[in-house]
Symmetry: C2
Subunit: 141 residues, 2 copies
């Protein structure tokens, strides 16, 4: 009886563990998709780039350089907020927007896996340049 | 007359230079948008991840693990191809797909700008842990 109870407990624990891994993977995939989707639009990238330079800006300040209307900027801010890339805080009537770069970390870690491929192309380029240099030296002699 | 001609030539050169910078920026922004858009979908990310592990795969091999139909996989491959992330080559009846990671480099360079923000959070976390450790030592005495 005790043995059965232990086995059941272990099964529940294992299921719980598998479930948390699965739910982490689903969340991870969703987060990653949301981050990349937020970065597709050039206006949203420009907003993030500005918030990288300045430590927070009001919505109207952010909207000012763009040729689009304020509601369109607000929609872009909603997308960035959903992706967890900005934080909005309201003081009086002014909404201040600040950068929250953490989700970009996961995106960058995902991309980092492919880094060896462009290092490979650089290696090939370096090898080519070296070969050409040796050839040039030979003809100079 | 000669002076005017020189001035005109200089203006044409300057315009040409400004034009090439502008067209580079537009292309850069378009490329970046296309790369991020290609990375939004989890199926496309899974295809790229597989091509990172294997040096090329046929379309049917790529389609096999997914619960979607072949035409849907083909559409995903079109998006990846448009973003310059894969190369398709046909030998006989078999289309082989290979990874072309270069566009990811620009995407990663764009994200790298924000790296200092998450390093900052790590610094804050380290400082917090250190503070807690010192507090704990004091109470132990």
């Amino acid at each position: 009886m005790e043995c059965r109870r232990r086995l059941n407990r272990r099964l529940i624990l294992t299921n719980g563990f598998v479930f948390s891994i699965l739910s982490y993977m689903v969340n991870y995939n969703e987060r990653l998709g949301r981050t990349f989707a937020a970065l597709v639009d050039p206006t949203r990238r420009a907003i993030l780039a500005r918030l990288e330079r300045e430590d927070g800006a009001s919505v109207s300040e952010l909207a000012q350089p763009f040729a689009i209307q304020l509601p369109a900027v607000m929609k872009h801010l909603d997308v960035l907020d959903d992706a967890g890339l900005i934080i909005r805080s309201k003081v009086g009537r002014t909404v201040t927007v600040q950068l929250r770069a953490n989700p970009m970390r996961e995106a960058m870690d995902w991309l980092r896996r492919y880094e060896r491929f462009w290092s490979k192309s650089l290696d090939r380029l370096a090898a080519y340049a070296e070969r050409k240099e040796i050839e040039a030296r030979k003809t100079r002699r």
